[in-house]
């Protein structure tokens, strides 16, 4: 009892409003500190945009040629005669690898999510969920190493091609990498469908599969789309795995056995060799701005779509 009175003197004899006590000030100070924590995320996102823009600024206003940057397939920043900064081939590399990865990851992750959320139960579900979570934790550099040391010889052997570091390799690696994350987001989306929908359908005599196909999937449509979008964003921004498994040569791919180079990988491979402030250095930051803007909008779209479900 005495302890409580000690801690809140305002509750005792003090007739003044409790705003003048020490606790009131501590409370306000704590609120201010927590608020700083809260806005830090916003500050960092703005900071990221400001700092990469600042470093890429010179290129954007000096050497930036809109047509060349987006439509030229020639990325030759170290050319002796005339440097060209075209990212078309790099975009094609990123897009082809991400596209193939999604082709692998979407059916499997949605299928696995349906199985885990709707069919599996008890221990089986628990084990599957833990496995998915652990798979999602494997670092991207390890995936890159797997592409390099395991997939590469495998592809050469199976398809009799000279080089195993190509779109196929990186696409499979990226697909395996993105699938666990997409599975757990898709599973959340299925779980968000209220049970009364399922019960109503089952009461009408529908089988489990009919319930899933006719009721649950349509109701979870947006959440699943959000999962796919986040997977695309992840594939787009992946760096180390793509750097190590694509072969890293500039190409607009015509088959899955072509080596390509991705936007992210270009920055990772070249930033270390450029002089701070040089045109090449600034051009790499400009690619960074491009990546930032694209992933920002993908994440925004995914968030809006998923939020739409929760409201409806």
């Amino acid at each position: 009892m005495s302890q409580i009175i000690e801690e809140t003197p305002a509750a005792g004899m003090d007739t003044d409003f409790d705003r003048l006590t020490k606790d009131w000030y501590i409370d306000k100070a704590a609120q201010a500190l927590m608020f700083i924590g809260g806005i830090s995320a916003v500050i960092f996102i703005i900071g990221i945009f400001v700092f990469i823009s600042k470093e890429g600024f010179g290129f954007l206003f000096d050497g930036f040629n809109f047509k060349e940057f987006f439509f030229s397939p020639n990325w030759r920043p170290t050319s002796e005669t005339r440097e060209t900064y075209g990212i078309l081939a790099l975009v094609a590399g990123t897009a082809s690898v991400t596209g193939l990865a999604m082709l692998v990851a979407i059916p499997f992750s949605v299928g696995a999510a349906i199985f885990i959320a709707e069919f599996a139960s008890g221990k089986t579900r628990e084990i599957l969920k833990i496995t998915v979570e652990l798979l999602a934790a494997i670092p991207s550099v390890v995936w890159g190493f797997i592409g390099l040391a395991i997939m590469n010889p495998l592809i050469i052997k199976i398809f009799h091609v000279p080089v195993g570091l190509n779109v196929l390799n990186a696409g499979i690696i990226l697909g395996l990498m993105a699938a666990p994350i997409m599975t757990s987001i898709a599973e959340d989306a299925l779980k968000a469908v209220p049970d009364r929908y399922r019960e109503a359908a089952e009461a009408m005599g529908a089988t489990r599969w009919q319930v899933i196909y006719k009721v649950v999937l349509p109701a979870a449509k947006n959440g699943l789309l959000g999962a796919v979008l986040l997977g695309v964003g992840r594939g787009f921004g992946e760096t180390m795995a793509v750097l190590m498994a694509t072969g890293h040569s500039i190409n607009i791919p015509t088959s899955v056995f072509d080596s390509v180079r991705a936007l992210t990988a270009t920055i990772a491979a070249e930033l270390g060799e450029t002089a701070v402030g040089s045109m090449h250095y600034q051009a790499l930051f400009t690619i960074g701005i491009f990546l930032f803007i694209i992933t920002f909008f993908i994440n925004l779209a995914a968030d809006l779509i998923v939020r739409g479900v929760r409201k409806g």
């Binding site: 409580i4 801690e7 305002a10 606790d23 009131w24 501590i26 409370d27 704590a30 609120q31 927590m34 608020f35 924590g37 809260g38 806005i39 830090s40 995320a41 916003v42 960092f44 990221i48 700092f51 990469i52 470093e55 059916p107 499997f108 299928g111 696995a112 349906i114 885990i116 069919f119 496995t131 998915v132 652990l134 798979l135 494997i138 670092p139 991207s140 550099v141 390890v142 890159g144 190493f145 797997i146 390099l148 040391a149 699938a179 089988t207 009919q210 986040l230 921004g237 992946e238 180390m240 190590m244 920055i267 990772a268 930033l271 270390g272 930032f292 992933t295 920002f296 994440n299 968030d303």
Partner: protein, 292 residues
């Protein structure tokens, strides 16, 4: 009378279709996990023989083609520790604000969107930010400090999301009971909410350790070096790191014995998976213990 409930042809067909799909989807789930498990077994098979006490606790020699990984292992631990010092207090503060104070308005939505984006921005863009902000603008140079701060910002969402979830799992009635005793908001948070959420917060912190240890791109240009003859002496020195070391030994060094990179990969992935398992185990223990 019993015939009325006997399965007719349509029922039987529906049941068959359902069995088929269940099998198909179950098969897909297994197919998703099987290749990864096969790959992991291969890592263990090839990398296992490399790992020994010497491997973990000696310096690389012979242009990194022999010897151990001690400087990289130590470097990763340093990077993780400095990153945690920066991001854990900040992340917990952010989560407390979002869970206990934030009103439902556009500003809170903006914070949530920023958190989603911090997690979604490509790691190489975080690296560019680290170079622009910490290495150049704040003049930390390529150092442990610059690399750790870059990692801290990148993994901040992990702590925020886990902490917010465990704070929100504390029943609202607990807070009301405390307010009714005349406690301030902060007293309630410190004495009632945080003690009840601490294990959940810990699972988030462990997850962040795992994420931070595995990241490569953000530290490549901000503080991690391919090879250093000496161990770092302060946070302003560069360091080696496990993740970058794996990249280096598997792509940058000629005449590398085949097994060594497998050993490095195995150590790295073991670190990450052990951390994650620990976090999962803690979460399950917590769920079993929950009284409300």
């Amino acid at each position: 009378m019993s015939e009325m409930f006997a399965a007719n042809r349509l029922n039987e067909r529906n049941a068959r279709v359902q069995k088929l799909y269940q099998l198909l989807l179950g098969g897909m789930t297994v197919m998703l996990m099987l290749p990864v498990i096969a790959i992991l077994s291969m890592l263990i098979y090839k990398g296992g023989p490399v790992i020994s006490f010497e491997f973990l606790f000696t310096n690389p020699t012979n242009g990194m083609t022999a010897g151990g990984i001690f400087p990289a292992l130590l470097g990763t631990m340093l990077l993780v520790m400095v990153a945690l010092v920066a991001s854990v207090p900040l992340g917990i503060a952010a989560a407390i604000y979002l869970s206990e104070y934030a009103p439902e308005n556009w500003f809170t939505r903006a914070i949530n969107l920023a958190i989603i984006n911090l997690a979604g921005v490509p790691s190489i863009v975080h690296a560019l930010f680290g170079v622009g902000a910490f290495v150049l603008f704040f003049r930390f140079g390529t150092s442990i400090l610059a690399a750790s701060l870059t990692l801290a910002i990148m993994t901040l969402p992990v702590v925020i999301v886990a902490t917010r979830e465990s704070l929100q799992a504390v029943p609202h009635a607990f807070r009301e009971a405390c307010w009714n005793m005349g406690a301030t908001r902060w007293q309630t948070i410190r004495r009632i909410v945080l003690p009840n959420a601490i294990t959940g917060i810990l699972t988030g912190v462990i997850l962040e350790v795992s994420r931070t240890a595995g990241e490569t791109a953000p530290i490549m240009f901000t503080g991690a070096a391919f090879f250093l003859p000496l161990l770092p002496q302060s946070v302003f020195d560069q360091t080696m790191a496990m993740s970058l070391h794996l990249f280096v030994v598997s792509t940058q060094v000629p005449n590398m014995p085949e097994a060594l990179p497998f050993g490095v990969a195995l150590v790295l992935i073991s670190m990450v998976l052990i951390m994650n398992s620990l976090s999962i185990a803690l979460r399950m223990y917590l769920r079993g213990k929950k009284k409300w």
